[in-house]
């Protein structure tokens, strides 16, 4: 996994505090983002971080090394997040998963407005940040997590497929749908802001 430093499994098994700290430093934020993406609840996402590391450390013998340690942690965290989602009886389960067949028709883009933000606007505009959060929150969970892992955390298609237990084809289809859906929502938002001069 790009950017992840090598961490000694032997040191982790031996209870080395430095190895635990290195593991936490390398993966805690990534796991938090994944859990937050599924659960949309910061406190619950922190619980998942805790659960994931405890589970991983106490079951290190189950890590077979076929995938990277990072991918395995993602898998543990994703399954824990889905379990928690299912236990929320008062909340409906995520919307039906979209078809993953590559041949399934992808809705054609509707908004064809050109928009461009300056770097200052991108970083400083709290309203834009809120809109980005709202738009990604509108996506079905199944698309949101793929977009997070591929386009935000920059995992490869193969790593994303392993982390989520999907085929690589399904990852590609979901990523494509997620990108187009987000683009559509942001285009509507930015075209409505056009009078303020934010749209080219």
């Amino acid at each position: 996994m790009a950017g992840a430093p090598p961490i000694s499994l032997d040191a982790l098994r031996a209870g080395d505090p430095a190895a635990l700290a290195a593991l936490f430093e390398a993966f805690a934020d990534r796991i938090y983002r994944l859990a937050l993406s599924v659960l949309r609840d910061p406190a619950a996402a922190e619980d998942i971080v805790q659960e994931t590391f405890v589970s991983a450390i106490t079951h290190l013998d189950r890590f077979e090394g076929r995938s990277s340690l990072g991918t395995w942690l993602y898998r543990v965290a994703y399954n824990a997040s889905l379990d928690r989602l299912r236990r929320r009886r008062e909340e409906p389960l995520p919307a039906d998963e979209p078809e993953d067949e590559a041949g399934e028709a992808i809705p054609l883009p509707r908004s064809l407005v050109e928009w461009t933000l300056t770097p200052e606007q991108r970083l400083a505009d709290g309203e834009v940040a809120a809109e980005l959060d709202r738009a990604i929150g509108e996506l079905p969970e199944s698309l949101r997590v793929v977009f997070l892992l591929r386009d935000i955390d920059e995992l490869s298609t193969h790593e994303t497929a392993e982390a989520l237990g999907l085929s690589e084809g399904a990852v590609k289809v979901r990523l494509h749908r997620a990108r187009l859906a987000l683009r559509e929502q942001l285009s509507v938002y930015f075209s409505e802001r056009a009078p303020q001069g934010d749209v080219a």
């Binding site: 922190e46 805790q50 064809l112 928009w115 920059e154």
Partner: protein, 82 residues
């Protein structure tokens, strides 16, 4: 390549996963179709915006406590198993 095909291949085009032949076909279409060019450009900007702003981590004020909680939890388990 027509607009529908271009949209179908858009993510593979962005990720450079197309064959040389399809990549060239897509480029040829994009050079003459303003609408598809807008979709490509705004899709790239969408990805860029999320890449820049989406890497939120554990809130700083919770991070130390969370790690301490993890250490305690692992220590408790070790005590129980010994």
């Amino acid at each position: 390549m027509n607009c529908e095909e271009l949209i179908r291949y858009l993510s593979d085009y962005i990720d450079r996963n197309l064959s040389d032949e399809l990549q060239a076909d897509a480029q040829a279409h994009l050079s003459t179709c303003r609408n598809c060019h807008v979709v490509l450009d705004t899709t790239r900007q969408t990805i860029y915006l999320y890449k820049q702003t989406g890497r939120r981590g554990i809130p700083v004020e919770h991070r130390v406590d969370l790690f301490a909680r993890l250490q305690r939890s692992l220590a408790d388990r070790k005590d129980c198993s010994s």
